[in-house]
């Protein structure tokens, strides 16, 4: 299911939580909303799931207007809200049954869907407990199960892996990837490695605006304009080496690593690479080049750059 968002704005009192954003999501894409706390990720999701109406702007799901056909749209969306509210006094199975019925799952299919969700989300061991008795990780699984119970075409997951242990996180990521093959998945997170591991496309949101949009490779590429290498040169005189490295035509800056002698971080000028030049320099001066490593820009750096 394709999603189209046009000039979406949400104002809380004085504050613009979401400020005139527009984007399009194609069917089968797994999109990650990334941003610091209070960036507008959850607000965007709330508007998308018909919980809140936008102050202005339009949202369309496969041509259906969220403002006009909320009932129709709600059937097609599975939503896991931010802090995963659940009816704690209900048993898991009863709760899933309630969700299935209310989402209009056919009566004959209800039990089959519940079984599938219990299996898929690993709830088998705890299936007879009340939700209130579950640990946070299991509650999160119940939250995921209720979101997927009616086999929706779009899944909106607001921070799906909070409260899970590392093994569970890996499982949930695998599950999301699996689901993303046929469904449109939108998830939010402030954990970079998470979106990088699961999403085809990343939207970085800051202060209500989209500040970056692309795959993790393209985003990294954007920041990689200035290539960074780490070199180790053994020749005794650190200051002299640093000076001659800086003298190279392609080099923008050189930093000596304090904790390790003979190590230097060399940053090239935009769109240039200094590896050859560094090598040639060492040969010319008779220095030993012990190490030369390219440093890959991390998504963290991109994130920090665009959100500061």
């Amino acid at each position: 299911m394709a999603i189209l968002i046009e000039n979406l704005t949400k104002v809380y009192g004085e504050q613009k939580a979401v400020n005139n954003i527009s984007f399009e999501i194609k069917t089968g894409e797994v999109v990650g909303f990334l941003g610091p706390n209070g960036a507008g990720k959850s607000t965007t999701m709330k508007m998308l799931t018909c919980y809140m109406a936008p102050t202005s702007g339009k949202i369309f799901l496969e041509g259906l207007d969220v403002d006009k056909d909320p009932e129709e749209i709600k059937k097609k969306i599975g939503y896991l809200p931010e802090n995963n509210p659940l009816y704690t006094d209900m048993a898991i199975i009863d709760y899933l049954k309630f969700c299935a019925e209310i989402q209009g799952v056919e009566k004959s299919l209800v039990n089959q869907r519940i079984h599938k969700m219990v299996d898929m989300c690993g709830l088998n061991q705890e299936r007879h407990k009340r939700i209130g008795e579950l640990s946070k990780g299991y509650r999160q699984r119940v939250g995921l199960a209720q979101a997927m119970i009616h086999d929706p075409e779009v899944l909106v997951l607001d921070e799906p892996t909070t409260g899970l242990d590392p093994n569970q996180i890996i499982e949930i990521r695998k599950l999301i990837k699996e689901l993303g093959k046929e469904k449109t998945v939108i998830l939010s997170s402030h954990i970079l490695s998470e979106v990088e591991a699961t999403c085809d496309r990343i939207l970085i949101i800051n202060k209500g605006k989209i500040v970056a949009d692309g795959t993790s490779e393209t985003l990294r590429g954007q920041a990689q304009g200035k290539a960074l290498i780490k070199v180790q040169i053994e020749a005794g005189n650190g200051a002299a080496i640093q000076k001659s490295l800086l003298g190279l035509a392609t080099v923008e800056s050189v930093k000596a690593l304090e904790e390790k002698p003979d190590y230097f971080l060399v940053q090239s000028k935009p769109d240039l690479n200094s590896r050859k030049e560094v090598f040639d320099l060492c040969v010319k001066n008779g220095w030993y080049l012990m190490e030369l490593t390219g440093i890959e820009t991390k998504l963290e750096d991109v994130f920090r750059e665009v959100t500061n």
């Binding site: 799931t49 919980y51 109406a53 809200p81 509210p85 009816y87 209900m90 209009g104």
Partner: protein
């Protein structure tokens, strides 16, 4: 309609799971039983086989009980955030409100049904005016519907159950007794208006077995008003500004 029933079922189940339903039914039976049959009762003295005493007691017990049942209906959802979950499911705000209203009403019907033995006992004692008894039950039910509607509205205003309870009692008190006081203290149109607004006016004619459209319109419109206001409170998040 199906969605309403799904919500009603869940609500009703949660009343029974959390023991609220049993407590409410048992205490209601004990209180109305004591005052109808034992303490300060005139039922054996008036020489008439009727349930007026019971209806008079229930008129008060329900007034206090209903806010206790309705106080959690939306306040608890607001507090725990499950309202977000519920309203992003394929139901409208109206269906949510009506579902909850029906659940409380059904609980009340069950409680009232448990008092049928009173009716049977009295019928053993002499000739009962069956019309008056039916009318009395019908009146209690309509009055309960009205207070449930007010209670759900109060609950929609807050995320605190105690506030919801007190607010429902406060609003209810006007209809239950205050308008009646005001009507006795004023004359002319104001007096009539106050008299019309008082629940007792309409409840009494019903419990005598007289079913008048004016009374039905009175209860019906307050039930509807409460539900519409609750729905409005729920939809508030959805306004465009």
């Amino acid at each position: 309609m199906k969605s309403i029933w799904v919500i009603t079922k869940r609500e009703l189940a949660s009343y029974f799971d959390s023991l609220i339903a049993y407590l409410m039914i048992i205490i209601f039976l004990i209180l109305s039983g004591i005052f109808t049959w034992l303490y300060g009762s005139t039922i054996f003295l008036i020489g008439q086989a009727d349930l007026q005493v019971f209806f008079g007691i229930s008129y008060w017990t329900l007034f206090f009980f209903i806010p206790a049942i309705t106080m959690r209906s939306l306040a608890e959802e607001n507090r725990s955030g499950t309202i977000e979950l519920l309203s992003t499911k394929a139901v409208s705000d109206w269906q949510i409100v009506v579902g909850k209203f029906l659940a409380c009403t059904l609980l009340l019907v069950i409680a009232l049904a448990c008092t049928l033995p009173y009716y049977i006992s009295v019928a053993q004692l002499g000739d009962v005016d069956h019309g008056a008894v039916m009318g009395g039950y019908f009146g209690l039910l309509l009055m309960s519907g009205m207070y449930i509607s007010i209670g759900i509205f109060s609950s929609s205003l807050t995320s605190n159950q105690i506030v919801a309870f007190l607010l429902a009692l406060f609003i209810g008190a006007f209809f239950h007794i205050l308008f009646q006081f005001m009507s006795s203290g004023s004359t002319g149109i104001v007096g009539h208006a106050m008299d019309y607004l008082s629940v007792r006016t309409h409840y009494e004619s019903l419990s005598r077995g007289v079913i008048d459209t004016r009374d039905l319109v009175y209860f019906g419109s307050f039930i509807l008003a409460g539900l519409v206001l609750s729905q409005t409170m729920l939809s508030k998040r959805n306004w465009h500004n």
